[in-house]
């Protein structure tokens, strides 16, 4: 290609994706992965606050052991709303569909995902599902918990189970489509030189997540269809009075819902890896082991569902196998924690807000992982199953882990997405407040759980009150911390300084293009010759005060 032809084909400057049309329609009908990411960001933020308000009422209610101002039914409906909305309309789409959508093509040097229109369709499916669910709330609510256990959900509940199940069913197809889209994108659209073991670990995490999405979500769809069939048509599947099996539901449900935990945490691991390596100015310690660990988590994660059923009446011998496999799935997570810690070794560490969130993630994820070992132990699980211990454990993973990583990603890639800088002091303050608020809220719940306070209890024995008061106090700190980022980020959007293309001096293809990126991401297809984290020469650790080498990405040829 001659130089002249090159310049004809690839202009040297292009409009950012944000300037590519300003009408509402230009957003709602956009097939640009970056605009779709923004659509997801807006919708999941709204859902997050719906779920948060529901649980805020619950936490206020729980200050008094006899309840205060809502009925038993309302209480059950509120925590169900919190669970359904947070799991399916915030956590599962959170990192993959916002940052994954925005960054996957940028990180592998592609102009878009493989199926841009399918990508937009996924968002509409997610929104349609969300609206079904919100309809269920407006119409009177659902009281089965997010787990829809049968035969309660199919035979006995008098609430709007059908609408909620239909909502989750529809949203599930959005998940599947996104998974297929990401897998094909990684396989087909990697740019020149981007071999598999040069992929950034965030891309690997999205790839592993997509495999789980594609393989597990259809099982959820089938399960919900069976619930709908029994509830609507009286088709006896789970009803024991007609030869059905109520435990069958739990096997099917957890066959999806345990891997779903990994859908929530794998992308978070990817984000944290990108952030730590950048702010430690170190190559990731053990890149290949990080890849294998993520693939192992995605794979083994399919074989541990029975640990949700130790007291359900399943065979005790099956429980022993599931207990063993649940310990095994902890090994790759342990490897990752060790690698993140080792990446800091001999680094040049700075503590910008994304790094604070990432360091907080490691601590909280470690606590969440270790308490997972308690739950994998059958005798301990017998005591703490369906108590606050379980609630605390999965919030350490999903909120302490995934939501911390979500905020790490939000701050880390904010300059890339918007082209603006946020206020560092406020961001650090929010990160620290969130960390402490989170621990104040959930740590007491471990103690509460082992003491025997069941979850989903509107009223509880008075001796547990002291821990509930602590937890609710912590929750108000946490709520305050969550309200800060929307304020200073909107301020940054309006009045923030321009960030430049690469404010962190990070490696990775996404930092080589403009901020915000042009509509088709790169002015010319990039090509690379090195791994993703070239912060220094192999085998070296740059000394203090040295100018750090610039990202070793080659210029487009």
């Amino acid at each position: 290609m001659t130089a002249a032809a090159y310049h004809d084909e690839y202009p040297s400057q292009a409009n950012s994706y944000l300037r590519d049309g300003h009408s509402l329609w230009s957003w709602l009908a956009s097939t640009d992965h970056k605009r779709i990411a923004i659509l997801y960001a807006i919708s999941i933020t709204l859902f997050f606050f719906v779920g948060a308000v529901a649980i805020a009422i619950v936490r206020v209610e729980l200050v008094n052991p006899n309840g205060q101002f809502i009925s038993d039914d309302t209480y059950n409906k509120l925590f169900t709303l919190h669970g359904i909305v947070m799991v399916w309309f915030f956590l599962i789409p959170s990192i993959p569909n916002t940052f994954g959508n925005f960054l996957l093509p940028l990180m592998i040097g592609a102009p878009d995902v493989a199926f841009p229109r399918l990508n937009l369709f996924s968002w509409y499916l997610n929104i349609a599902g969300g609206l079904f669910t919100l309809y269920a709330v407006v119409a009177g609510g659902v009281d089965t918990g997010w787990t829809f256990y049968t035969p309660f959900s199919t035979m006995f509940s008098n609430s709007h189970v059908l609408a909620a199940a239909a909502g989750v069913f529809v949203a599930g197809f959005g998940s599947i489509a996104t998974g297929v889209n990401f897998i094909v994108t990684v396989h087909m659209l990697r740019t020149r030189g981007m071999i598999w073991f040069r992929l950034p670990l965030f891309v690997w995490s999205l790839y592993a997540t997509s495999l789980v999405l594609v393989l597990a979500t259809p099982v959820l769809a089938v399960t919900l269809l069976l619930v709908i069939a029994e509830r609507w048509f009286g088709f006896p599947i789970f009803d024991p009075t007609h030869g059905g099996d109520p435990l069958l539901f739990q096997h099917l449900f957890w066959f999806y819902s345990h891997p779903a935990v990994y859908i929530m945490i794998l992308p978070a691991m990817g984000v944290v890896t990108e952030v730590i390596t950048c702010f430690a100015r170190r190559r990731v310690f053990g890149y290949t082991f990080m890849v294998y660990a993520m693939v192992a988590i995605a794979g083994i994660g399919f074989f541990v569902w029975g640990h949700h059923m130790f007291v359900s009446g399943q065979s005790p011998y099956a429980s022993l196998i599931f207990s063993f496999l649940s310990f095994v799935v902890a090994v790759p997570s342990a490897i990752k924690v060790c690698n993140w810690t080792a990446t800091l070794y001999r680094g040049q560490i700075t503590f910008e807000a994304p790094m604070l969130y990432a360091l907080g993630f490691i601590g909280l994820f470690t606590v969440g992982g270790l308490t997972g070992l308690f739950l994998a132990s059958i005798p301990i699980d017998v005591q703490v199953h369906d108590t606050y211990f379980v609630v605390a454990h999965f919030h350490y993973i999903m909120v302490g882990g995934s939501v911390s990583a979500f905020f790490a990603a939000l701050h880390f890639w904010w300059p890339k997405i918007t082209g603006k800088l946020y206020d560092e002091a406020w961001a650090r303050f929010a990160a620290i407040l969130m960390f402490f608020g989170f621990n104040f809220t959930f740590f007491p719940q471990f103690l509460l759980g082992y003491l025997g306070n069941p979850r989903r209890y509107h009223v509880y024995p008075p001796e547990f009150q002291v821990y509930h008061v602590m937890s609710s106090t912590g929750a108000s700190v946490l709520a305050a911390a969550y309200l800060l980022p929307p304020i200073y980020l909107i301020w940054s959007l309006l009045y923030g300084k321009r960030s430049g293309d690469n404010p962190w001096g990070a490696t990775g293809l996404e930092w080589t293009t403009q901020s915000p990126p042009p509509t088709h991401n790169f002015l010319a297809p990039p090509s690379i010759e090195t791994g993703p984290y070239e912060y220094h020469e192999k085998g070296e650790a740059p000394e203090a005060g040295l100018r750090l080498p610039h990202p070793a990405q080659s210029e487009p040829r």
């Binding site: 035979m155 005790p316 040049q348 470690t366 301990i380 005591q383």
Partner: protein, 316 residues
Amino acid sequence: MTRLTFFPVQASTEAPHTDFIYFGLIVFSMAVSLIVVGLLIAFAIRYRRSAGTRRGALPEWIERDFEIGWTSAAFFLFLFAAFWTGATRLSALTPPSEAMEIHIVAKQWMWKTQHPSGAREINALHVPVGEPVRLAMTSEDVIHSFFVPAFRIKQDVLPGRYTRAWFNATQVGSYHLLCTQLCGTEHARMVGDIVVMSRADFGQWLVSQPHADDVVREGQALFASLGCSACHDGASKVRAPRLEALYGRPVDLADGSRIVMDDSFIREMILRPSSHVVRGYDAIMPSYSGLVGDEELLRLSAFIRSLGQAEHGDRG
């Protein structure tokens, strides 16, 4: 608000075992957390950008050796933990054979309990201290869960089948019985008391209960009134299996398989007799589905079991 407590009371033989594992895991977790958080803080301070610490080169072989090291360390540690915690549970699976059996029927939102003597309670269960107690549990509607934190036991209670649990109380007192499976509106109010009494007090309490036939007698009465005895009695003209000394033994089925005669099998045969045909007999038994309730099924089981325990069934 009462004072801060960190651990529930230990009131059963199982509790110290569970707590021992709990403490073991706490010590392990604290050690791991201290190492991880300690290293994070140490590295964060020592290798902050403004620090003049010498970094030095980091040879490449370190990476692979460390990875193999902590992967195998984690794997063997977890393997040991899985074995240790699993093995403890195995020995707790089977209740002692002399355990007294309590029948429990759960419904929205109530626990109904019945003693071998026939005494019935609602949302309460009185038991003697130091005596193993076996629970045979079923539900009339949705799934519930029988949880006594002080005993460290929990077992879901399912409609349409029996689940079992057992405990041996070690301390006199009154303990929470809680439902831990979301079962509807008043889930949080489906609670009761397990009252552990000295043997003498328990004996007095039992005597003072409104008089009722014991469970076996109630079962025997049902056996007659439902017409079971018309066929399953030796003197009957209809050929049906006699039930003496059958409980707990394997039964040969017409399809060549074998099945152990237990509460679940008895229930299955009463409600859906055509599901299993015993070898050598015709499938002529009618279904009693809809005619007998969960509590009655438990009484019939108790009666049939009593036939097995006696050397020569006393059929009156």
